[in-house]
Symmetry: C2
Subunit: 380 residues, 2 copies
């Protein structure tokens, strides 16, 4: 199965991010640390310096061993005379990273950070300031709303949660209807990941304020990716989620929000495993979506177009993106090199865009930037 080999590649990408091993030699640490923007209100730690090092601090007077576990590396903290442990990581890529503390063998969230869902748990996250962080900053511009909705799902016999971004102006002009982007998280994440660490709403607010994108609605729901164990990803079956999305969520959104409820005004995108879901679902449903975004989640090959001729006919834009550090590894799945694939598909007559996020890996900064690049191309 192609999908299975693809999943193994995704798994390798995840492992390279969540990481193993590595040690760092002695290094001079630049003493310009500031509290991370992702901290809890009033908390001084963790801090980040201009090199992108993360410094953790926690009081644990009786502990023998405290570590900061970030980017797949465990950094030892050092105890002072008051029982307070402090230490810092090697420089991290700019953008958002999941992390945790290890206290005498217990892996726990850092009480200083806010908590994010990713790596299959609610736990600590830290944002390393990025040169381009302005595009997802909270600014004095009109803000859209992020609705938490609970939509009925017969197929799963429950009410399922989704977040729906409506752009500024949605509430003040009741005659206007909007296109919709369905936007999926990756493995280990959930429907909160795009609105929280992804800042999907702020990215849109800022783009709209600058007139760079058409206003549209974004719908983010749980892709049911975590219900199987990490080691059994190749057993993932798209059918349950495809049913929820196509048969339940889209009709609910079209009934409860002022949408332009047709193919020309419907997009789907996803990151990592959400990209794989987007790929499978949009290839199989070319009557439903006209714009497709795969963020670090595979590509479409000329063979795919042969197998799914309506995809080429109906899809107005295929957007494929990766973090530059992801592309350093040769081979991105059974469909081959994503850039070459995307070029070949373009030659075959599709409107495509290939974007590379500079200096980032399989992490959220690549995906924030991907959304920022993707949104202005939609519904034109």
């Amino acid at each position: 199965m192609k999908n299975q080999s693809y999943l193994l590649v995704l798994l390798l990408a995840l492992i390279s991010t969540w990481g193993f091993g590595q040690t760092e030699g002695l290094a001079t640490v630049k003493e310009d640390f500031k509290p991370a923007v992702t901290n809890q209100p009033g908390k001084e730690y963790p801090q980040v310096n201009s090199e992108g090092r993360v410094r953790a601090r926690i009081k644990a007077p009786e502990a023998k061993n405290v570590q900061l576990d970030i980017g797949g590396v465990k950094y030892d903290l050092v105890k002072d005379e008051n029982g307070v442990w402090t230490g810092e990581s090697a420089p991290q890529d700019e953008g958002f990273h999941y992390y945790q503390l290890n206290i005498d063998g217990a892996s726990v969230p850092d009480p200083g950070s806010r908590y994010y869902y990713g790596a299959v748990r609610w736990g600590s996250g830290v944002d390393v300031p990025a040169r381009d962080q302005d595009f997802y900053a909270l600014k004095n511009v009109p803000h859209g709303h992020v609705h938490q909705i609970l939509f009925p799902s017969e197929s799963t016999n429950t009410s399922r949660r989704a977040y729906v971004y409506t752009p500024p102006g949605y509430d003040t002009d009741p005659s206007k209807k909007y296109p919709v982007l369905y936007l999926q998280h990756g493995f280990g994440e959930n429907e909160t990941s795009w609105p929280n660490q992804g800042h999907a709403n702020l990215i849109m607010d800022n783009l709209i304020a600058q007139g760079k994108t058409k206003p549209f609605i974004i719908v983010m729901t749980y892709g049911m990716t975590n219900d199987i164990e990490f080691g059994k990803l190749n057993e993932f079956d798209i059918t349950p989620f495809q049913t929820v999305l196509i048969d339940e969520l889209i009709p609910y959104v079209d009934m409860h929000f002022r949408t332009l409820a047709n193919r020309d005004n419907r997009a789907m995108a996803g990151l990592s495993m959400g990209g794989m879901e987007t790929r499978i679902i949009t290839l199989a449903n070319p009557d439903v979506f006209s714009y497709v975004g795969l963020f670090s989640g595979g590509s479409i090959s000329p063979d795919d177009l042969k197998e799914h001729p309506d995809f080429k006919k109906n899809v107005k834009l295929l957007f494929v993106s990766y973090g530059s550090k992801e592309l350093e590894n040769p081979g991105r799945g059974p469909w081959g090199d994503p850039r070459k694939n995307t070029e070949a598909v373009k030659k075959a007559g599709m409107n495509t865009r290939f974007y590379v996020s500079p200096g980032t890996a399989h992490e959220f900064q690549s995906w924030r930037r991907s959304l920022y690049q993707f949104a202005p191309l939609l519904f034109r």
Copy 2:
């Protein structure tokens, strides 16, 4: 200052909840523990038994000392041969409780629980099943939406966050307008506390499905209560929050949601310190609100009515509530016994309701029940 003595009483109430000291003798523990509903997806611990005991478990092979810290008491956990620590608390009141783990002197969130904002931090919470939990359960009924909004605030020079519950039907009948309840959290909490641990949206969904309440909008924002230190609560000044609420948030909500924008269709309620805020703001603004709810947050005395004659004239309902365990302590602030006060105010001609939550203290189960009792009385 009356407000200052009142705040000291609130502080005592909080201390009695967050607690100090206490130990428990040997007890037989009923072995019918089940994972808490507040756990992270897939996490087996913490668990709760039918007595309301909370059992925590964490792997910490190198630790010397691990404790469960709940209800103001620290319970020692015991290590097994695999380095896994397990132990349980004394029976807790039914409903929601903040807690944490202590690992060799470090106070950290339990990686098994979901995280809630309360006690001035994002941290662990656990729900002890209550006999009446059905009223805030997620059911197969039409669900309203909870909007995260970012509203401009000139007085604080930022975009401030609020959550807005719109009832089922809000999106499908664009001609209908709704009354609004402004609902405040307590000290140490924030705007997420009512929609998360308070289940304000599910309480409303269920009441509306049963035809027990008129559908209305609920607005929950940060009451700016935590910006001062716990020990300096008596320095709290209502002015900044009152400005945000009256001059900025209410106009924003009335512009962006289909509200009935008048006094008769506007209510304010709050819990604990949010009750105190409600009390001060509604006494000072009787032209703005017609329904007032004080949940474990003081009462209105006949003297207040003399000082604020328009309050009596304009307010159609004064609702005062407490957990029964709170009332065991004599004296509930400088305005005296809340039940006697409320009776006196009723005699003076006001429409009042006094509610006591059975078997609960200064915690969220008292306030979930208070909202459940209060909502059906509004906008009649």
